[in-house]
C-alpha cells in the first residue's frame, strides 16, 4: 500500500530517538501504533534495520502481543472483560447481547468500520464487575441497558 510510505518519516524520527535505549522494541511499537493507529507493514524493514534485527524477529514480536494491530482500527474499539470476575456477574450474557445487536463475533469488526469488538481479560475493575473499555474509557457496573446506551452513543457520533 503506497500510502503507508507516508508514515515512514514519523517512524524514522521515532526510531532515531529510541535507538540507543536498551530493549526499545515494545516502546517503539506502542508509539507507532499510538501515532498511526496500527503498525504498517512498510515500517517493519526500517524498525528491523534500526535495531539490527531481522524482519522475522520484529514480526514475531508484533504477532505475539495481543495489543499490536497490523491494520487500521475501527472508529470505536469495545473491549468487554471476559475474565472470571466479570463472568460471575453476567459477562457472558453481555457478550451474547453484543454479538446479537452488532451481528459480529467476539473478535469481529463491523463492515462499515464503525466498531471493533475484542475480548479483554481483566481491566482491574473487578470490585464493580462487569466492566468494559470503550475507546480507552472503562465503564463498570454494567447492565444490559447501560451496554445498549453505550452502543447508541457509538452509533450517533459515528454516523
Amino acid at each position: 500500500m503506497p500510502d503507508e510510505m507516508l508514515h515512514l518519516p514519523m517512524v524514522n524520527s521515532l526510531l532515531e530517538r529510541h535507538k540507543g535505549s536498551p530493549g526499545a522494541l515494545l516502546p517503539i511499537l506502542h508509539e507507532i501504533q499510538e501515532g498511526i493507529g496500527y503498525i504498517p507493514d512498510a515500517a517493519i524493514p526500517d524498525i528491523a534495520h534500526a535495531l539490527n534485527q531481522s524482519q522475522a524477529e520484529i514480526r514475531g514480536v508484533i504477532s505475539f502481543y495481543h495489543d499490536f494491530r497490523t491494520a487500521p482500527p475501527a472508529r470505536h474499539i469495545l473491549r468487554l472483560c471476559r475474565a472470571e470476575s466479570c463472568q460471575s456477574r453476567g459477562a457472558e450474557q453481555l457478550a451474547a447481547q453484543l454479538r446479537e445487536r452488532l451481528q459480529l463475533d467476539d473478535h469481529g469488526s463491523s463492515a462499515d468500520g464503525s466498531i471493533s469488538l475484542r475480548p479483554v481479560y481483566c481491566l482491574g475493575a473487578c470490585a464493580c464487575s462487569p466492566a468494559l473499555e470503550l475507546d480507552g474509557q472503562v465503564h463498570a457496573r454494567l447492565s444490559a441497558e447501560r451496554l445498549d446506551a453505550l452502543l447508541d452513543s457509538c452509533r450517533e457520533d459515528g454516523a
Partner: protein
Amino acid sequence: MNRLYLPCDSLARAVGADAVASALVTQAEQRHWPLELQRTSSRGLYWLEPMLEVDTPEGRIGFGPLTAADVPALLDALQGDASTHPLALGLVEQLPYLHSQQRLLFARAGITRPLSLDDYRAHGGFEGLARAVALGGEQTATAVFDSGLRGRGGAAFPAGIKWRTVRGTQAAQKYIVCNADEGDSGTFADRMLMEGDPFLLIEGMAIAGISVGASHGYIYVRSEYPQAVATLREALEIARHNGYLGANVGGSGLAFDMEVRVGAGAYICGEETALLDSLEGKRGIVRAKPPIPALQGLFGLPTLVHNVLTLASVPLILAKGAPFYRDYGMGRSLGTMPFQLAGNIRHGGLVERAFGLTLRELVEDYGGGTASGRPLKAAQIGGPLGAWVPPSQFDTPLDYEAFAAMGAMLGHGGVVVADDSLDMAHMARFALQFCAEESCGKCTPCRIGSTRGMEVIDRLLAAPDQEHREQQAIILKDLCDTLQYGSLCALGGMTSYPVASALKHFPADFGLHAAEAEQ
C-alpha cells in the same frame, strides 16, 4: 472554604466519579458556596464509589454511592444538616469495613492526592528512604530479611534472600524490576497503589536500588492500566525533580533512576522471566531456571524482580523496623496482605489485614455475601490459576501454607466470588481456553494440552451416558497432572488448579456423581 474529597481512581471514575465532580463544582459555584474539591486516591470501598468525603471538626464524613443526579440534594444537605442525606455514611474511618482493617500498605488510601509530594511527606513518606540511607545497604537488606516479607506476586518467596543474593553479586550493572503486570482476574491492589500512591512504589524501588547496588529500575505495567502508567510517569518526574531519584538518591551519594515500560496485552508477561524477555524487546517467552534472575536476569545481569506490593512494603519496614512488621500475621506468613474482594460480591473492595483471618470472615463479614443475593457457590482465590474453593472450606485461614495444604494458593490475594448460577464445568473449560490463548508456547503440555483439555471437557459434556463421562473425567485428571508437573512456569503448571478443583468439588456440573469424581 468547604473542603471535599472525591477519588480520581480509575474504577471510581468508571462508575461515574468525574460526572459527580463536575456537577459539584458547577452547582456549588451557582450557589456561591465556596468549595475546594480534592481528587484523592480511593479508600478501596468500591461498592460505595463514587464516595464523597467532607471535612468536619470530628473527621471526614462520607456520602455514597453518588451519581451526578444526587448532587443538588447533596449540596442542600451540606448547607444544612448533612447527616439527613439518604446516602450519608457518617464518619468514614468509623465504617466497620474500614475500621477493622490493618492498613499498613494502604495507610494513605483515600486520604492523600496521588501526585502531591506534600501530602505524601505529611503522611510518613520518604521516612523509609531516610532510614535506609542512614543504615547503609547491608543493614537495609537485613531489615527486609528480618521482617519476614515474602513476595506478594504469588510465589511468596522470602524477599530478603533475593536482596542478599543480588547484593552479593559483582556486576557493572544491576537492575530492579517491578512486576506491575497485574493480569489476574479479581486483583486490583497493584492498580490502586500505582494510581493512588505512586511515590510509595518509587520509594520502595529507590531503597532496593541503593541497598543491592542497582542504579536502574523498570516498572513493567500492563497496558490495560493506562492511568497507572500516566500517574507513575508524572510521579517519576516529580521525584526526580526533588532529589529522590537521580545521581544522589535522598542524599545517599548513590545513583538510582527508573522508567515505566508498558506491556502489550500478554498475560504470560506477569511471569518474571517472560517479563524480562519482554523488557528486552522480545516475545514474552518463559525462561528455564536456573539461572535465577537474581544472578542472570535482565540483559543477563543481576536483577531484583518483585511485585508492586512487595516493593511498596519496604518503606514501612525501614521506617518502623522489621519487628513492627513481623508482629502482624501468622506462621511464616508475616505482615499484612491486601485482599481483594471481587466478582459476585455485595461489598467488593480492598481489605488489608494481617494473614490469618479466615476466608469466611473475608467473604461473609466484609463481603456481605453475593451481590445477586443467591446462594454462594464457590470462590476462586489467587486469579485464573487459583482453585475454586467451596464454602465447606471457607474456614481455612488465609495463610500461604494453609492454602497450599488444601491444593490451593493465595497468590496475589484476589478473591472472586460466584453464586449458584455459575456453571463450574464452563469455568473449567474457560481456564483451559485462557491457558491456550495466553500460553507462550514453550512447553508442550501448556501449548497443546490446554486445547486438548477443552476438547476433553466438550466430549465429557456431550457424552451419552455416565460411563463415557467417567472415561473422559479420568483423561481430564490425567491431563491436569501432565500440565502440573510438565510445565516450566505457573501458567501451564497451575491451570490444573481451577480445572481439577471444579471437577472435584462440583461434579454435578459435569454430569458426574460425587463418588466418581473423587476417584
